[in-house]
Amino acid sequence: MTDQADIATELYDILKSVPDPEIPVLSIIDLGVVRSAKLLENKVAKVDITPTYSGCPAMDVIGDDIKTELQKHGYTPQVKLILSPAWTTDWMTEEGKQALKEYGIAPPMDATSDKDALLGNKRVIPCPQCDSKNTRLVSQFASTACKAMFKCEDCEETFDYFKCLI
């Protein structure tokens, strides 16, 4: 698969320890924004990252955090922002999705369920608190561009749903 991230084993754990600044339970590896990490001569670490959304304000912070973490481990970081191929929620790992749910954010569903839910046709997004599917769309945009807001009609909790982007 060409979309598979290519991450050097030596750098994997270091990058895995860098959290997403807005959803700190999610590592940038689990989020799928690290597309490639290569170890070059003289401990130069070349990392390519891709934004979730074009205007995502977290990207600058993520870039800086990667640099800091790599420097701590004695590497010389080179971080580059790439746009192609465009990020998709498919790149989020299962571990990442589980972490989101535990954090109270409903993880992205498959494209069909996502569309049904966002168009208000079907109630399919499970509430991350009580697992009820009796949830309704409140707003297509929530606290950040990557999320929509839902309300659970059973436990009455409002929650964020990480929108599917494919």
Binding site: P51, G55, L83, S84, S139, Q140, A145, I166
Partner: protein, 251 residues
């Protein structure tokens, strides 16, 4: 086709996103409800993010030592090539939604074509932006239906906005001589080909929204040649204030 041609073409696309993004940003904290406020600012953020990708490419293509910030903040009014539609004021929520919908439908169609450009940068930006714009279009379309098919007051306001903004739609498809050069090179889009489909799409939605389709004999134009309405100067004075007052300031 020179780099200057390409830069000029990018302005024609990216300035729409910048100016509309700036316009919607004015609503931050002033939306009619918290949810719509947040939605509109999210859309603004997407548009500004897309603008950055285009302007970074301009900086790369430019012979002089300019940055994306110079491109965004230090041009004069005539150097902005956005269409007149996007600079129209936030008169009321019906205007905001109608302006957005008229633009989103075009934007989506344009990006769909730009995705197949021979230019890899255009391809990448278009692919990325399309995912975002499909959400924008759904949001503005849903709201226009709700306003049109809502209360008597919301219907009247939506109809007024549609009537007033309709005259700015035709300019979206105007091809400048530079647009033609870029389209012929396989880099740009021949927007004239999109026109029929565009009007079919928005007329169908207006019908669903129980709104009348305006019968207009003439259309406004000028933005693509840098000749703007009186609103543009006010937008720029607001937007450029920081860069002009504190030259070279950075976040």
């Amino acid at each position: 086709m020179t780099n200057e041609n390409l830069i000029e073409y990018i302005y024609g696309i990216a300035d729409n996103s910048l100016i509309l993004g700036q316009r919607i940003s004015e609503l931050c904290g002033h939306g009619p409800t918290l949810e719509t406020d947040i939605a509109m600012t999210n859309i603004a953020l997407d548009l500004l993010g897309q603008t950055r990708s285009y302007y970074q490419y301009v900086a790369e293509l430019s012979k002089s030592d300019i940055t994306e910030d110079d491109v965004a903040f230090l041009r004069t009014e005539r150097e902005y090539k956005n269409v007149l539609l996007v600079e129209q004021p936030n008169t009321d929520f019906a205007y905001v939604i109608t302006r957005q919908y008229f633009f989103d439908v075009f934007h989506f169609m344009l990006l769909k074509e730009l995705e197949n450009s021979k230019n890899v940068n255009f391809q990448a930006i278009a692919k990325k932006s399309l995912k975002e714009v499909s959400y924008h279009k759904r949001f503005s379309g849903d709201w226009l239906k709700r306003l049109g098919d809502g209360t008597e007051e919301s219907k009247n306001k939506a109809q007024k906005a549609v009537n007033d903004l309709w005259v700015y739609t035709n300019e979206l498809f105007q091809m400048t001589s530079n647009d033609k050069i870029i389209a012929e090179a396989g880099y740009g889009v021949n927007t004239e080909d999109l026109k029929a489909e565009y009007y079919n799409a928005i007329k169908a939605l207006l019908k669903e929204a129980t709104l009348d389709i305006p019968e207009v004999e003439y259309f406004q134009k000028g933005g693509k040649d840098g000749i703007h309405t009186e609103h543009m100067g006010y937008i720029l004075s607001d937007m450029q204030y920081m860069q002009r007052t504190y030259p070279d300031m950075k976040w």
